[in-house]
Symmetry: C2
């Protein structure tokens, strides 16, 4: 039995894992991708007490157990399939993981901003929304200003940034970030044409 990756079609964290998986030669044949709604499907909880996606059900070759947390899942698959997306040591490792933190933080801020917007107005809500918008702006500016990374080979950090930008663009189209950040926008325009991304669906 192959491994199984449970994902929600809209989750940027699940999208990060799915893109990484598709970028690893030979890995996709070993992992079945199954959509799941962690808000309504309690069967996931047997694999992951948090009942969240992405969750990876391992196979016998892995010695049992399941993995959750998008970063851990990618690191596991990368080690197992020699994916070359997660450097194992040295400055390139910390650079990839730093940029992953930016991508994850961006996605998280977009989610929080959206969810807070669903609730009645109040002072706490306004403060949370302002904080998320400050983070979104600062991350986008930082990624554009330090754009040397866009010339390097794809790594986990770049995938995290790309899938977060894709989520931002779909979830919050009123945030028009591209014109003022041409280097980041140019990279993103190329990123979404990669087969690993273009075939994600929604």
């Amino acid at each position: 039995m192959p491994m199984t990756l449970f994902y929600a079609p809209r989750s940027p964290f699940a999208a990060k894992v799915r893109v990484c998986l598709a970028e690893m030669a030979g890995a996709k044949d070993e992992v079945e991708e199954v959509p799941a709604d962690p808000w309504t499907d309690e069967t996931l909880r047997a694999l992951n007490p948090l009942c969240k996606v992405p969750t990876l059900r391992l196979d016998a070759a892995a010695g049992g157990g399941n993995l959750y947390g998008s970063s851990v899942i990618v690191q596991y698959l990368d080690a197992r399939f020699d994916g070359k997306l997660v450097p194992t040591e040295g400055p390139t490792r910390w650079d990839a993981l730093r940029r992953e933190a930016l991508g994850d933080g961006l996605a998280e801020a977009v989610i929080r901003r959206f969810v807070e917007g669903l609730d009645p107005d109040n002072a706490r809500r306004d403060k949370v929304i302002a904080r998320q918008e400050a983070a979104i702006t600062a991350v986008l500016d930082h990624l554009d200003a330090e754009a040397a990374w866009t010339e390097s080979a794809l790594d986990l950090g770049a995938v995290a940034v790309g899938t977060a930008l894709r989520y931002l663009t779909g979830r919050s189209p009123e945030i028009t970030w591209q014109a003022e950040r041409p280097r980041l926008a140019g990279w993103f325009g190329r990123f979404i044409t990669r087969p690993s991304v273009a075939t994600l669906g929604y």
Copy 2:
């Protein structure tokens, strides 16, 4: 100049890093710990666009840059100081990172439950609170049922669990989890007497 770790006294993620740091022989002399309030202190944003704690300002020996995300910071410090808290490969690595995900998820659920409780009642809020409480219960049950890990040497996963339990107990004392989970409670009782934990303060 030594490295600087910015932390918020109440943050369970910052506590995780601080405990790990104190458990690494010789590491504490190389890292100055500085309290910061990421909601009011914008100076952090120059180091971390997300303006969050924990953030680690690196020294010249690291070749510049800063790190953020509690897991990445611990992995960096562990590699640099040979901390032995994060196995670099094999089943022990994935086991530690799986348990870290449980600890982080527990802390996140306690935070979300608390924050939602600050807002006016509505259907979305009730659903979010119920989901967080289901996660808290399931994680605690899982950690107690699979308690073999409590007999092993301390690793990143155990520290994440311990600091999350400490946060749960301080933030949500109305959740009385210990009596029904004697193995987890026994381990936690020992964990909080470790000097690395007992000296954390609030």
